[in-house]
């Protein structure tokens, strides 16, 4: 077996914890700082903004899945009483998109519509009802193009192309990476497992529908309030499409009424209302209908995947080969990153010495897929963890024990050059095994009852920004007030996860004040330094570290002034209980406001800054930018199920879950993130589907979302939620602020495979796809009864002409993180860095 290479050094972030002080804020279950606003209905979401003279915007959307626009006539709509303005694609022709490599969207389609719901025109009117009525007065002449419904059809139908870019035909992106010789690895195995899985798409379904309000400021600049998770990226897209200096655009991310990744792209409606506000010189507002939210989508990609894994008799993995076929929908969105992510994190949980990944994302005529909680990783995690269950059974091992044997080590560098941080998956598994009474239940429950286990890992923040740059990923400014208040300015966006509370609690802890003494100015591109956004579980670690640095810097200034005044060595000063005092003689000291005044008298106005840039990744191959993170969270879950023998109905009475969080900054919120993840995971496991309906081809070209509504897209209710036992495993990771790692996404990942594994334990059938619906279970049960393979799942993986893989020798084969055969990668990174260094 190849020797594992441990990373030699981890970057240490200084924090107060290392001083051995007891914590007063961090780790204490607390009311979140924005809690009162939320329970009084005073949190102002984007649609809660009402400004005088507001005009209302509605978008005319394509009724065709794929068509060319021959002609648009807006004259009748414009003549309609109450209509102020009608915009079409030619008013906003500049292409944009979240990723620099996929600038493939237009705010209003100019000549090509790519899915039902693609916007082609906008009506801005005095009343929303008037704007809606006027939509019907816009005449669009379409030339219908072939409808491309799914990835296999996309592979078989190179023409017409949905986009003029991409790999070829309707293939958007190929990824082919090989870390060590996988065939050789598989050849060394005692057993080889080949399994095909399908993971259905799902959508975020935030209860808040996307809304935006734009105004032309008195000085002619633009301000937009929007339900966005990424104000900085929206800022950039607006500047590009509106062809305005970024300095003249202010984006204010209002608190999001749920995001889950669905508000992370710059959206057409945001650009349209901005343009309209500038043209009309009055506020312009849009709030999408629920149906339109389904057309924004950017949700979970449907993925067909095939795992080929070799294992030794003791469970050791000798090699893994993963192939994915990904349904991208009509636009790029984050899709290139999603395609890489689908192959990135397999190596982070179990040691895989040789690994090969081939991924293919196709364009189809459906709303674009993108990042949903767990971005790109829940689908292959499902396959990997279900396959591991099959492996354990074949090897006659307890699946929990098998996992414990093959876990990856802390601080390891994986085959694909991801440098891990703390790894407490062992403890997570032990905890869920204990609290679920696993040993007395697995394969021991009566027929129809079962338990299943699965594990996972997730990023604590993407190691690279969306656009390549060397600047910090997060910045924080602090302003110290003579009255003892501290104001935090930061671009971080509150989407419900508690980012405001993270910032306030870290600053309050360091400075020894109460979180409610802190004022927050967040999500505003004019007021705060850039934070890249609330995605990839990055805020706690990145904005948190920036806040920590700013607070420590402020603390140093205050300490110096207080030390002088109180004649105490500054190292001995303690900041707690709104005081700064001698830790050796606690009576000796000053109040926090006095400390601020002393510091201000000595140094002038007190303001400090902090910023955070993730450590450089050892991955230097093309595509190695997706997957690195400062550290990873780990989760293990045991799901209990009851399966009805006749109907196949799957009921989940209980979930036990343990999450390696590093440290819970606010345990109340951390638990909420875990339970919320369990909830969303169960939705995906059992009922949620972003499903489409292709009408009979001889009669129609229609391809429509099957049920773009909150009624028919099935989101579990309070009656569908099981008991959840949450264990937070706390082993502070020095890379995170006070040791914190992420908790918002990782706990979702093990739920779906744990349900599938539990169904097998209960009734002996394998459901190799999600959602695991009663129809599928009933069919598999019938197959079992008839002596056929007791399984429901995809039966093939299509032939794809994969490009030659980039070959990257893993660390233990002497690899340096570069591919040995990348002809396009002419210059090593060091050269690039020199050029860009200031």
């Amino acid at each position: 077996m190849p020797e594992r290479k441990e990373s030699t050094k981890v970057s240490q972030v200084a924090d107060s914890r290392s001083q051995g002080e007891d914590l007063r804020v961090i780790g204490v279950p607390r009311r979140r700082v924005d809690g009162r606003a939320k329970v009084t209905g005073q949190t102002r979401f984007a649609d809660d903004i009402f400004l005088p003279r507001t005009a209302h915007c509605k978008l005319l959307r394509s009724p065709h899945p794929h068509a060319r626009i021959r002609k648009i006539d807006t004259s009748r709509a414009l003549a309609h009483p109450g209509v102020y303005l009608v915009l079409t694609g030619k008013d906003l022709p500049m292409q944009y998109g979240i990723l620099p490599v996929s600038q493939d969207e237009q705010a209003l389609c100019v000549n090509h519509v790519r899915h039902v719901g693609d916007p082609v025109a906008a009506v801005i009117a005095r009343e929303e009802l008037t704007a809606f009525e006027a939509l019907d007065l816009i005449d669009v002449d379409y030339e219908i193009l072939t409808t491309i419904s799914d990835p296999e059809q996309a592979l078989a139908t190179p023409e017409p192309r949905i986009h003029e870019y991409g790999e070829e035909g309707n293939i958007h992106k190929f990824v082919a990476l090989e870390f060590g010789n996988v065939e050789q690895g598989v050849a060394e195995a005692d057993e080889i497992f080949e399994d095909t899985f399908f993971y259905q798409g799902s959508t975020h379904l935030p209860i808040e529908q996307h809304a935006s309000v734009a105004i032309k400021d008195p000085d002619g600049k633009l301000t937009i309030w929007s339900s966005t998770q990424t104000p900085h990226y929206l800022h950039r897209a607006l500047a590009k499409v509106l062809e305005m200096p970024p300095a003249h655009i202010r984006v204010i991310a209002t608190p999001n009424g749920g995001g889950f990744g669905g508000k992370s792209d710059p959206f057409n409606h945001e650009i349209v209302v901005a343009k309209a506000a500038l043209l009309l010189d009055r506020p312009v507002k849009i709030c999408l209908t629920r149906e339109e939210v389904f057309y924004c989508h950017r949700g979970r990609h449907p993925v067909l995947m095939k795992f080929r894994t070799g294992v030794k008799k003791d469970g050791t993995i000798t090699g893994m080969h993963l192939r994915t076929l990904i349904d991208g929908g009509a636009y790029g969105s984050y899709g290139v990153a999603s395609t890489y992510y689908a192959g990135a994190l397999q190596t982070t949980t179990y040691h895989i010495p040789r690994y090969r990944y081939e991924g293919c994302r196709t364009f189809t005529n459906k709303p674009p897929c993108g990042p949903k909680r767990g971005h790109g990783t829940p689908q292959p995690r499902f396959g990997q963890e279900v396959q591991l269950d099959k492996i354990a059974e074949k090897l006659k091992m307890d699946p929990a024990d098998l996992r414990l044997r093959i876990l990856e080590s802390p601080n390891a560098v994986t085959a694909n050059f991801l440098r891990l941080g703390t790894v407490n998956l062992t403890e997570c598994i032990r905890r869920v095994v204990r609290v679920s009474d696993w040993k007395n239940k697995f394969r021991k429950l009566p027929e129809g009852h079962g338990v299943g286990i699965a594990c996972s890992a997730y990023l604590t923040g993407a190691g690279l920004p969306i656009y390549w740059n060397k600047m910090p990923h997060s910045g924080v400014q602090l302003k110290f007030d003579r009255g003892g208040g501290v104001s935090i300015f930061c671009g971080a966006t509150e989407i419900g996860q508690g980012s405001d509370d993270v910032l306030a609690s870290i600053v309050a802890e360091v400075l020894g004040i109460d979180p409610f003494d802190v004022r927050l100015f967040t999500g505003d591109t004019d007021l705060g330094p850039v934070d890249l956004g609330s995605y990839s579980s990055r805020v706690t670690l990145m904005a948190g570290n920036a806040a920590l640095q700013a607070a420590e810097r402020g603390k140093a200034l205050l300490a110096e002034a207080v030390a002088l005044k109180c004649e105490v060595p500054k190292e001995r000063l303690r900041f707690a209980d709104k005081r700064v005092f001698d830790s050796a003689a606690p009576d000796k000291g000053v109040s926090f406001p006095e400390a601020v005044c002393l510091a201000e008298a000595r140094f002038g106005t007190i303001g400090t800054v902090g910023s955070y840039t993730p450590p450089e990744s050892p991955a230097r191959y093309k595509g190695g930018g997706v997957g690195p993170s400062p550290t990873y969270s780990y989760t293990a879950a045991v799901v209990e199920v009851q399966v009805h023998p006749v109907t196949g109905w799957v009921h989940v009475p209980k979930v036990c879950i343990a999450h390696d969080i590093g440290r819970a900054l606010n345990p109340t919120l951390a638990r909420g993130q875990v339970e919320g993840s369990v909830y969303m995971g169960l939705g995906e496991a059992l009922m949620e589907e972003q499903e489409f309906r292709r009408l009979p081809q001889r009669l129609s070209h229609a391809l429509v979302h099957k049920f773009p509504s909150l009624l028919e897209y099935k989101s579990p209710t309070s009656l569908d939620m099981p008991e959840v036992v949450t264990e937070l495993v706390e082993d502070p990771d020095p890379r995170g602020p006070f040791g914190a790692k992420e908790v918002g996404q990782g706990p979702l990942l093990p739920i779906m495979p744990a349900v599938a594994n539990a169904v097998y334990d209960a009734v002996g059938v394998r459901i190799d796809e999600v959602p695991i619906t009663p129809e599928k279970v009933m069919k598999a049960l019938a197959d079992k009864k008839a002596g056929r393979e007791p399984r429901f799942g995809p039966d093939h993986f299509p032939h794809i002409n994969w490009p030659e893989a980039l070959r990257v020798p893993p660390p233990w084969e002497g690899g340096d993180g570069n591919a040995v055969n990348d002809v396009h990668r002419e210059k090593p990174r060091a050269v690039k860095e020199k050029v860009l260094a200031p």
Partner: protein, 343 residues
């Protein structure tokens, strides 16, 4: 935000006034009770009445008389009022259960018995926004000429999705329909017809004012509802069963109704007749369930796979009958419907 289209608003104070309005306006006026069915349909532009006539200001529609010799239920009783009233037990349990499983608590506080009986038929191709329906070229039920559920069908296949109708049919209910010219009593089993568009025989100028029930002394009834989630969802299969049992447990009379699998609730006549004169034992129940399931012909226009819905039918009939026999079905209820107690 989805907006209602413009409409005229009328708020009569008496049934007489109401039927005069209906007579004058014709089908362009629609009665508005709880609004939980009609207003979403209007927002989606499935129904665009010229006038809305509120029934919420007519006291006589809110009356309720429960007695051993028979009951009269005003059409504007809310589903919450029915679910919460302990008077709706024993014989009328199925009705109370059906009412208590409709949609959500808030909707049950608004939705009325009459409204649920007149509920528009539902279909995945029809209960969609205007823009969505435009994308499929509309459908037979509204603005189009193809039934996308069965493109060769000349008839609309939208599904009867009322919970209370199957229950009340099993209880032998009648409804009173009042028009300006007079009134008529119609057995509920004759109120509906097998057409997704013209699913109800209520004429546009008639108002459904009350539900009438004969004495249910000696009867027991139960209602089972299949849906994906524990709340919100319309039924994709429903089974109502009522039986009058003798002291020795022999069935003297019985009615089984299967709902949500056709344009109207279906009375399982053969299955019901089979029960009469026999004890409700395992064998009888199995026979009746098989017979009842035979009439269910669900189509692919609701949630869930249609073959699966068909196959669950016998199972649900079995549960309903076992419940009538006095078996404790709370386990199955919890597992399959997320409601542990039947009420």
């Amino acid at each position: 935000m989805m907006r209602l289209p413009l409409f005229e608003f009328r708020a009569p104070q008496t049934v007489l006034e109401a039927v005069r309005i209906l007579d004058g306006e014709g089908p362009k006026a629609m009665p508005l009770a709880g609004g939980t069915d009609l207003l979403p349909n209007m927002k989606r532009r499935q129904q665009v009445p010229k006038a809305l006539m509120s029934l919420n200001h007519i006291p006589e529609l809110h009356q309720k008389t429960l007695s051993d010799s028979g009951s009269r239920l005003g059409a504007c009783l809310t589903l919450s009022e029915i679910a919460a009233d302990a008077g709706f037990r024993n014989g009328m349990t199925a009705l109370a259960q059906a009412a208590s499983f409709v949609a959500t608590p808030q909707i049950r506080n608004m939705a009325t018995l009459g409204g649920n009986l007149c509920l528009d038929t539902r279909c995945n191709y029809y209960d969609q926004n205007y823009e969505w329906r435009k994308a499929i070229g509309f459908c037979l039920k509204k603005d189009g000429d193809t039934c996308w559920v069965a493109p060769s069908s000349s008839k609309c296949m939208a599904v009867s999705s009322t919970d209370t109708a199957p229950a009340l049919m099993a209880l032998g209910a009648r409804v009173r329909l009042v028009s300006r010219l007079g009134e008529r009593e119609v057995p509920l089993t004759e109120l509906y017809q097998n057409d997704g568009i013209h699913y109800i025989k209520r004429r546009p100028n008639e108002l459904l004012t009350e539900v009438l029930l004969d004495s249910l002394r000696g009867w027991k009834s139960a209602y089972w509802k299949l849906r994906r989630r524990g709340s919100f969802d319309f039924p994709v299969l429903s089974v109502a069963a009522a039986a009058k049992l003798s002291g020795t447990g022999v069935v003297e009379a019985a009615r089984i109704v299967v709902g949500s699998v056709a344009c109207l609730p279906l009375v399982a006549r053969e299955a019901s007749e089979l029960l009469v004169g026999r004890p409700l034992n395992q064998g009888t129940i199995a026979e009746a369930a098989a017979l009842a399931a035979r009439i269910a012909k669900p189509l692919d226009n609701t949630d869930f796979d249609m073959t699966w819905r068909k196959r669950v039918t016998a199972e649900f009939v079995t549960y309903a009958l076992r419940e009538l026999r006095g078996e404790d079905m709370r386990g199955e209820r919890l597992l399959l419907t997320r409601h542990s107690s039947s009420l």
